[in-house]
């Protein structure tokens, strides 16, 4: 009798623990040979933003040892139902994990994740996570922007720095501007960052015109959060300086370019794929930075001011060691109100969310 009760008890324990495992939802391992990775990207493989993602996937492919046939790309996919169609096609072709690199894909991916619970949907730049098979990843590009701000702050002589921004009221764009301005102010408290938004992620003609307008109000360093290298070209033509974005733009503006914040998406792609192969993929959100080599600045060019390398190295060490991060108080908004107290640090949710949407710091002027 006792034995029976015991076995009943034990089997119940087993059942419960099995159920518990299912709730925790670690995706089953996929063998390296069977793995198919889908990538749905907003731009073509050779533009700034998607180009960096493409390089990341290709590096991941080398690092993990996958073949070309195991990576299925979809480029130039707009942020409407076409992204869903593209992803359905990739599921149809047997992809076990699908990456999407644009904000507007988020809700489609969330609903697809529910429809296809065996497939991992990993979304870049969003905030949602369904706790099962849908997560998101992004990078602390603001850390790299802070470092490039140091180079700009040391270089300027007019103490006016121009910044060609993409969209206003956007957490990533504002975060970039604020971090850049904090970098500038860390070495040059008097410098002002003048921002002009172009209401687009990329538009070469408009980018150049906007940079020229900033140069015309006496800015002598032009930073950018837009896709093309035209702002750097404008700086070069005016005999001024600039910080690019996405790729090292020294080649297109050899006498102007200082350094550019760049992405290295390979780190997150490799981490997710290796986890999936090893059967330990979990729906966690990735927010890697300088420490994980997800973001960095391109090598300093010959144009940087003396002492730039040392100042940047100093800041980099503090960030990488975790001793300090960019958004540490005191931080003041444009009305001079303290929005972050001395010693306090912004949470990741604030950095990527509405807090940042509403914040431009003191020393930033929107033109």
């Amino acid at each position: 009798m006792f034995k029976k009760t015991l076995s009943l008890f034990l089997s119940m324990v087993m059942l419960i623990s099995l159920a518990a495992v299912q709730v925790h939802a670690v995706m089953p391992a996929v063998s390296k040979e069977d793995l198919k990775v889908g990538a749905v990207f907003i731009g073509p493989s050779d533009d700034g933003f998607t180009g960096a993602h493409y390089n990341g996937i290709e590096k991941m492919k080398e690092a993990v040892g996958l073949s070309d046939e195991q990576i299925l790309y979809k480029f130039n996919v707009p942020e409407n139902s076409e992204c869903e169609s593209a992803m359905r096609e990739l599921v149809d072709k047997g992809c076990q994990i699908i990456f999407g690199n644009s904000w507007g894909y988020m809700n489609y991916m969330e609903e697809l994740a529910e429809e296809y619970p065996d497939v991992v949907f990993s979304h870049c730049s969003g905030y949602k996570n369904n706790g099962v098979n849908f997560n998101n990843y992004f990078g602390r590009i603001y850390q790299a922007r802070y470092l490039s701000g140091i180079a700009a702050g040391l270089k300027t002589t007019t103490n006016k720095i121009g910044y060609v921004g993409a969209w206003p009221d956007n957490a990533e764009v504002n975060g970039g501007i604020n971090a850049f301005a904090l970098g500038v102010q860390s070495v040059n408290p008097d410098a002002v960052v003048y921002v002009k938004f172009i209401n687009s992620w990329g538009d070469p003609t408009l980018e150049k015109q906007t940079a020229e307008a900033l140069l015309a109000i006496d800015c002598d360093v032009i930073a950018q959060h837009v896709d093309s290298s035209m702002p750097q070209v404008a700086a070069q033509e005016a005999g001024k300086f600039g910080c690019g974005y996405n790729t090292d733009m020294t080649a297109v503006a050899p006498d102007a370019h200082l350094t550019a914040p760049v992405w290295n998406w390979a780190s997150v792609y490799t981490a997710e794929i290796e986890d999936l192969i090893n059967g330990v993929w979990e729906p966690v959100n990735y927010f890697y930075g300088l420490k994980e080599d997800m973001v960095d600045i391109s090598p300093l060019s010959k144009n940087v001011a003396e002492g730039t390398a040392e100042k940047i190295e100093e800041a980099r060490e503090k960030i990488v060691s975790g001793e300090w991060d960019v958004f540490t108080g005191p931080i003041y908004n444009q009305d001079g109100e303290e929005v972050l107290k001395e010693g306090e640090t912004l949470s990741d949710a604030d950095i990527t969310g509405t807090f940042m949407v509403e914040l431009l710091i003191k020393g930033v002027k929107v033109e």
Binding site: S85, N107, W167, N170, E172
Partner: protein, 360 residues
């Protein structure tokens, strides 16, 4: 003595239906060959690629669903612009009329979503038709009142309404959650139901709307007084005037219908596949529809066929890109080559190029 060849273009006389279709088939074959040469130059096997395109568009139920989803807006928009084109009113503004319909439908989806699904969707559809129609009547009014150029007028209106969607997304209709601007998702009751399309599977109800409008346009153009009137206005506006037709009214009415159908496309897109308002709701379909309408010679049945072929090509090209790792721009070039040949073929149906030998 030197002799030179001179090329001249002359209009063909009567072209029989059989000749016409032979030319078309030849043009399609030429298009596939030209595309094939391009693919060969890139180092691909054209047969393999064409087979992949067909397979990618039609081989599985899932793929057929995606192809039909592409076809619904293309076919309907082409039918819409055809009404205006029959009247020789160059409506290049379908893109904007789709947006207008999408905005009106989204308004009800976001702010009146307490209504039951059937009523809400009907209200959204009617609102979209009216909004699209009114947006299209604007250039029609200026055309009849001030004789403005409708090609430019309709084209320019596209940009205005396109940016208006961006404004709504960035401002009043922005989803307050998250760090980036986007409109919220539609609730369940503002989404189109799925209906089984025999042999294809579940596709949003827009496919039925497509067939209904197709049949309606066919009968409207062929068997109604209004259809006759707009054709006469197109053939010769003075004849229409002498016959005592109310020309201005006909132009306004026809543009309302033309743009109204395009507006309905906007509603079907936001409530069907998109399930939210995006600035890519039209995404060039308004312009593709112009090519489709012309290739079909403004015949509704032709439009159904050509828009189906366009959808197969688009879906096929997407599959080809992925399977062969062909850059997106290359697949766009291939589509361009095919279109160029097919459209070029239309020229040869009407004209011939001859050579004369001139003594100098």
């Amino acid at each position: 003595m030197s002799s030179r060849f001179h090329l001249y273009v002359s209009q063909r006389g009567e072209v029989s239906k059989a000749q016409e279709y032979t030319m078309r088939i030849l043009a399609l074959v030429a298009a596939l060959i030209a595309g094939g040469v391009f693919l060969l130059l890139l180092g691909f096997n054209p047969f393999e690629i064409y087979a992949t395109m067909l397979k990618g568009a039609l081989s599985t139920e899932g793929m057929r669903q995606e192809t039909v989803k592409l076809m619904i807006p293309l076919c309907l928009t082409s039918l819409g612009v055809t009404l205006a084109f029959k009247m020789r009113f160059w409506n290049i503004g379908a893109e904007g009329q789709i947006c207008a319909g999408a905005i009106a439908a989204s308004y009800f989806a976001y702010f009146h979503n307490h209504l039951p699904q059937g009523i809400l969707l009907s209200v959204m559809a009617v609102a979209a038709i009216i909004a699209g129609g009114l947006w299209g009547m604007l250039p029609a009014y200026f055309k009849t009142r001030f004789d403005t150029n409708e090609t430019l007028f309709t084209l320019m209106l596209n940009y205005i309404i396109g940016f208006f969607i961006t404004y709504l997304r960035e401002g009043p209709w922005r989803d307050p959650q998250g760090g980036f601007a986007a409109t919220p998702r539609f609730l369940k009751q503002a989404r189109l139901p799925l209906v089984n399309f025999p042999g294809v599977g579940n596709v949003h109800i827009g496919w039925i709307v497509m067939f209904v409008i197709l049949i309606w346009v066919f009968f409207y153009l062929r068997y109604t007084k209004q259809g006759y009137e707009l054709t006469v206005v197109g053939e010769n506006i003075n004849t229409a005037r002498y016959a005592g037709m109310p020309v201005k009214k006909i132009i306004m009415r026809t543009m309302f219908l033309s743009a109204g159908i395009c507006g309905l496309v906007g509603m079907l897109q936001v409530a069907g596949p998109d399930r939210q308002l995006t600035d890519a709701v039209a995404n060039g379909r308004g312009f593709t529809a112009v090519s489709i309408a012309w290739l079909s010679r403004l015949s509704p049945i032709g439009i159904a066929l050509v828009s189906f072929l366009f959808s197969v090509m688009e879906k096929g090209c997407s599959m080809m890109q992925t399977d062969f790792r062909i850059p997106a721009s290359m697949s766009e070039i291939l589509q361009g080559i095919i279109l160029f040949c097919v459209l070029g073929g239309e020229f040869f149906i009407n004209f011939r190029i001859g050579r004369t030998r001139k003594e100098a």
